[in-house]
């Protein structure tokens, strides 16, 4: 396919623009951003793909903003033998027009036009390749998916086959593999499981086998039942025969058994007779034995009576000995008792002696105490009298003492207030005698004496001088007071009957002494009278003791008492000892008494026994005599003998009969009879079982007959046969499909491997322009570059720099375009790629473009760019600058006016490409 021109109207930002493209080689469409380069590509896709009625997102996005007009695209295209102009408008008044100019003119509109174009493109163009050889804007130029491209494959096929090998109609194998795979998918899933027809056949086969097996099993069961019925019939017949034979045997046995039974009864009667006779013999023997026992008992009892009499006699001696012993014990007891009385009396005398001695001692003590009591009572009386005589009690004395102190105080007051007369004797003078108020005072040399002058005082140096000192008036008063006091004192003394204070004090002391003495005597009295209460009682005690004592006047001493006490103790011990012996003798005596009593009792018992034995013996003898009178001993013995003989006869008879019966073996006969009856029963049971099984089998057979198993089996077999055949056929077809697919795939792989070489040669030719002559590439069967080797270094494609990947990807596409047959080729469209390539590489890429498109009839290459310097290196490029195509109202003044319509690009291909036409909007198509 080749694009000759593309016209856009009201498409995105483009108002109306027509671009003509060079038919061969590179066309560079350059322009600023948003000028509508990519829109051209989008418009072409929509033109070919979208029906005019479509409202898909890309179409709605293509409608220009704010304008009531549908986007419209027109393209002039040649492909294969066709050349046509194709125009479409969407959204507003949709329309499709097709004008085919070659090979035959054709005019179509609407859906017919769309269908026709689709058919033409499908017929002549590899649309996958058209997509594969395009580089979109803003995407890294990577590997194109070229492996499945038919046009490329054919080109490579040509290259691989070498020149000169012409192939007729190469379209035959188009999609052959796909159809083979489709065929295979009818039978197997991609994972190899059976599906579709094959699966259905397998299921049918399995079902048919199951059904056939089911029917056959049922039929076999019926066959078995038929055989079982035959067997049952035979068994029943045999059983009837056996039953018949057995009945005869049973009858014979039963007869024998009946005869034997009557004989059995006879034997039984004989046995009973024998038993009876034996019983009678036994009875006679028992009576005889009873008589014998009676005689023996009488003899025994006689012996017993004799033994009892002997025992009585033997006990008599023992009895007498016991009595003697008792008498001896009694005498000993009397003696012991007398001795004990004596000893007790001696002890009592000793006790009394001790008591008398102790009384005497007590009497002496009591006499002494009486004397001391008398003394104390006398002293107490004296003291109490003295006490009673005393007038000065303690209070009176205290009063006197107070009065005396008042006197002294009065005197002191007086003396203190009174003048003093000091008498002093010089040192050198001799001793001086002074009389003061009548009192002589001797003063030593150097001594002095002071005298108060309370009243008048008289001093006298005998012989020398008398001095009277009289106090003044005041002093006299004080002196009166003293006197007053003194008088009061004197009166009090007088009242008390004492001379003065000192006398009073003395009297007081005397009274106190008397009181103390009285207390002492009372204490003595109390002490002595302790235990007796008062003196008369003491005296009474004393008198009592004295009255007890024989007035022998023997003095006693404590030593005597001790001695007497020891003697008394000894006597007491003797008395106790004697009493003890007396008790022992008494006990012995009593024991002997008991023995005598026991002997008495025993004698009585023995006598009783002897009497009883005698009595029993007497009675037994009477019994024996009575029995003998009734039946003499001899009669009894004779009866015993007779009956024993009879019993033996009966027993022998029975034994003989039993032996005769045993010879005929009745046990065996009975066992046989019983067995025969059991056999008959078993045969009946067998017959019942056979009948039951027969009935069951017959029932099953009747049911089976109505089930029509033969028909079912026949149908199942037919179905199985058909299923087997169908399965075989389908399995064969499936195997064939797999074989064909496998073979085709294998050969395609092989061919693809052979395609790699020419493709690689072409890619390497172009890539060496960029990378230098040392470049080598590895390309796989899907025609992908896997490794690049440069200067001997091999690097995986994915590890290459973005720039290198971009350059290799471009080389691969251009190689593709160069390889594909011109009549089948499609334009290579590169939308602003090579952003990763440096200027040096860009320059070399220019050469690549040229090299790829230089051949005659080479592919059409369209480059869209906003950076035209990237593509300056392409020598043979046709450059088409694009300017914004605005609506008339917004058109810039700088743009050239007047559209230039150029059609028929094929006329002057070198001149017309690169022309941009802004068409006047005077007319709208449709």
């Amino acid at each position: 396919m080749r694009l000759h021109r593309v016209r856009l109207r009201d498409f995105r930002g483009v108002h109306d623009r027509e671009v003509s493209l060079a038919e061969h080689g590179v066309t560079v469409l350059q322009g600023d951003n948003e000028v509508g380069k990519t829109s051209t590509l989008v418009a072409l896709d929509l033109l070919f793909d979208a029906a005019d009625s479509s409202r898909r997102a890309e179409i709605r996005a293509a409608q220009p903003a704010g304008v009531d007009a549908g986007p419209e695209v027109e393209a002039e295209v040649s492909t294969g033998p066709y050349r046509f102009v194709y125009r479409k408008r969407w959204l507003r008044r949709p329309r499709t027009e097709l004008h085919v100019t070659a090979p035959a003119p054709e005019q179509l509109t609407g859906a017919d036009a769309h269908a026709r174009v689709t058919a033409i493109l499908d017929e002549t163009m590899d649309r996958a390749l058209w997509r594969g050889l395009r580089v979109e804007q803003n995407s890294v130029v990577g590997q194109a998916d070229l492996g499945g491209q038919d046009a490329l494959t054919r080109a490579l096929d040509r290259a691989a086959s070498g020149p000169g090998v012409a192939r007729a109609d190469p379209s035959v194998d188009d999609g052959l593999i796909e159809r083979a795979a489709e065929e295979l998918r009818r039978y197997r899933t991609p994972s190899g499981r059976a599906t579709g027809e094959l699966r259905a056949a397998e299921v049918r086969l399995a079902d048919a086998e199951a059904e056939e097996a089911r029917c056959r099993a049922a039929l076999d069961a019926v066959e078995r039942d038929v055989a079982a019925r035959d067997r049952l019939d035979a068994d029943a017949a045999a059983l009837r025969a056996r039953k018949h034979a057995h009945t005869a045997e049973v009858t014979g046995l039963e007869d024998t058994w009946a005869a034997l039974q009557s004989r059995l009864r006879e034997v039984d009667a004989a046995r009973q007779h024998a038993v009876l006779a034996r019983e009678r013999a036994d009875a006679a023997r028992e009576r005889r034995e009873t008589r014998d026992a009676l005689i023996a008992a009488a003899e025994d009892e006689a012996a017993t009576a004799a033994r009892a009499a002997e025992a009585v006699a033997a006990h008599e001696a023992e009895h007498a000995a016991a009595r003697d012993e008792r008498d001896a014990r009694r005498a000993a007891d009397t003696t012991a008792r007398a001795r004990a009385g004596e000893a007790r009396r001696a002890a009592d005398a000793a006790e009394r002696a001790v008591s008398a001695a102790r009384d005497r001692a007590e009497l002496a003590d009591l006499a002494e105490r009486l004397r001391r009591v008398d003394e104390a009572a006398a002293g107490l009386a004296v003291a109490e009298r003295a006490l009673a005589a005393s007038t000065v009690n303690a209070d009176a004395l205290d009063e006197l003492e107070d009065l005396a102190r008042d006197v002294v105080r009065a005197e002191a007051a007086r003396d203190a207030a009174a003048a003093r007369v000091e008498l002093a004797v010089p040192e050198d003078a001799g001793e001086l005698t002074v009389v003061v108020d009548g009192e002589t005072v001797v003063l030593a040399p150097g001594g002095s004496r002071t005298l108060p002058v309370a009243g008048s005082r008289a001093l006298s140096l005998p012989g020398v001088l008398d001095v009277r000192v009289t106090p003044g008036l005041d002093d006299a008063g004080r002196d009166d007071a003293v006197r007053e006091r003194s008088r009061a004192l004197a009166e009090a003394c007088e009242e008390l009957g004492v001379a003065d204070l000192d006398a009073a004090r003395a009297a007081r002391r005397d009274a106190e002494d008397a009181a103390r003495r009285a207390d002492e005597h009372r204490a003595a009295l109390a002490r002595e009278l302790a235990g007796h209460g008062d003196a008369p009682a003491l005296r009474a005690a004393h008198d009592a003791v004295r009255s007890r004592l024989p007035d022998d006047g023997t003095p006693t001493t404590p030593a005597d008492v001790t001695e007497l006490r020891a003697a008394a103790d000894t006597a007491r011990a003797d008395a106790e000892d004697a009493a003890h012996r007396a008790d022992e003798a008494d006990a012995a005596c009593r024991s002997a008494e008991d023995t005598v009593r026991e002997a008495d009792t025993r004698a009585a018992v023995l006598a009783e026994r002897a009497a009883e034995a005698r009595h029993a013996h007497t009675r037994r003898l009477e019994e024996l005599d009575a029995a003998r009178v009734a039946e003499p001993d001899a009669t009894l013995a004779e009866a015993e003998t007779t009956r024993l003989a009879r019993a033996r006869v009966a027993e022998r008879e029975h034994e003989a009969m039993a032996a005769a019966l045993a010879d005929d073996d009745p046990d065996t006969v009975e066992a046989r009879v019983l067995n025969a009856r059991a056999v008959a029963e078993r045969l009946s049971g067998e017959g019942a079982r056979l009948e039951r099984e027969h009935a069951e089998t017959t029932g099953r057979l009747q049911a089976a007959g109505l089930a029509g198993w033969h028909d079912q089996l026949a149908a199942a077999e037919l179905e199985l046969d058909a299923a087997v055949r169908e399965h075989t056929a389908v399995a064969r077809r499936a195997a064939a499909a797999r074989r064909l697919h496998e073979t085709l795939t294998r050969h395609r792989e092989r061919v693809r491997r052979s395609y790699v070489a020419p493709f690689r040669a072409q890619v390497e030719r172009l890539a060496r322009i960029v990378f230098g002559p040392s470049l080598a590439l590895e390309i796989d069967e899907d025609l992908r570059i896997t490794h690049r080797t440069l200067h001997g270094t091999t690097v995986p494609f994915g590890a290459l720099s973005s720039g290198a990947q971009e350059q290799l990807g471009l080389c691969a596409r251009l190689a593709c375009a160069a390889l594909v047959d011109p009549s089948e080729g499609v334009p290579v469209v590169i939308d602003d790629a090579l952003g990763h390539s440096d200027p040096e590489r860009l320059a070399r890429l220019g050469a690549v473009f040229t090299a790829a498109t230089s051949a005659h009839g080479a592919a059409q290459v369209v480059v869209l760019t906003c950076t035209p310097e990237r593509y300056h290196g392409i020598g043979a490029a046709t450059v088409v600058p694009l300017a914004p195509s605005r609506r008339p109202g917004e058109r810039a003044a700088s743009e050239r006016s007047g559209p230039e319509v150029i059609r028929g690009a094929e006329d002057t291909p070198a001149a017309t490409p690169g022309t941009v036409l802004d068409l006047p909007r005077t007319h709208r198509a449709g």
């Binding site: 188009d174 052959l176 083979a180 038929v226 009747q702 007959g705 089930a707 037919l718 077809r733 050969h747």
Partner: protein
Amino acid sequence: MRFVHTADWQLGMTRRILGARPPKEAGGLTGEAQARFAEARLDAVRALGRLADAQDAAFVLVCGDVFESNLVGPDVVARACEALGSFRTPVLLLPGNHDPADAACVLRRPDFVRRRPAHVRVLDTPGVHEIVPGVEVVAAPWRSKYPLTDLVGEQLAVLEPAPAGTLRVLAGHGELDVLDPDDDEPARIRRDGVLAALADGRVHYAALGDRHSAWTDAVDDRIRHAGTPEVTDFDEIDPGHVLVVDLDERAARVTTETVGRWRFVRHDAALDTDADLDALDARLAALPDKERTAVRLALVGTLSLRQRSRLDDLLAGHGLAFAAVEVVEQHSDLATVPDDADLHELDLHGFAADAATELFAAAAPAEGTGDAESRDALRLLHRLVGSPR
């Protein structure tokens, strides 16, 4: 005395070649031939009944295998009774090896007994049966599937010569020892015994069944197999008849009457050229009554891929008209060998051509046996190439 001798009705029989019941999901009439075949067997019964009525026969003697099995369904029994009721000549049914008088015997089954027309009599007990005064039938019925003696011989051994004026017909079922000299089979009918009985007048005619082909003894033509009245298999000789027997004490005059309408045709053909194919085509086209004809083909030869396709188409086309067309594998030796013309016709290029060449090589019958799978693959390739998307 005239009677009709027949045997081996095999009512309830199905034939594999006539196809199966159609699978549920599949349409078509795959099993319809089977149904028509079953109907044809009943038609034959009705036809021989009409014949007996028309010929004023004393009775119709069926020598065994009235039913295909004792276990046929009640529908088969009911339809058989209907067919028997369509005429009035008395019918004597002898249990054979397919319907022996064992515990499951269909002739004693309640559904048969209930529906049995009055003129139908079952000879399920061995011995002499008086049919009409002066006519007796000596029955030797099968009592189990696997008898251990010559049942006919057993009956003949205890038989006294027939009273004067009485005609006796022996009714037996089984192969004569001269027809199938298999020593291991104890139930074979001793021909000598039968001949002796005929000679000394114990019986006057030996009516036999079990052999679906008609047969007459070379020594005494009173020993006969009637054959099946409607064909049952490809190997039967002259089936589809009943025998009308006019009997007296000395001889039997036997007329063969046709009642069967179906044919089982076996055809052996050598196929190597297109002419052979043409001949086969013509041969099949020439067969009459195709809807009542089953064809079994034994094909021998070598065909190219294209010829094989033609054969397949040819057989498929005839299969539509015939009751059945079958290529029997075990008797066929048909090789498909692709030739250069086949390869050229494919008109392939590139790897597809290489793949086709490889398959051709594999399919070529080097060493005698070609690779069937590769031939199938080639045929598929043929089809795929011939039917572009």
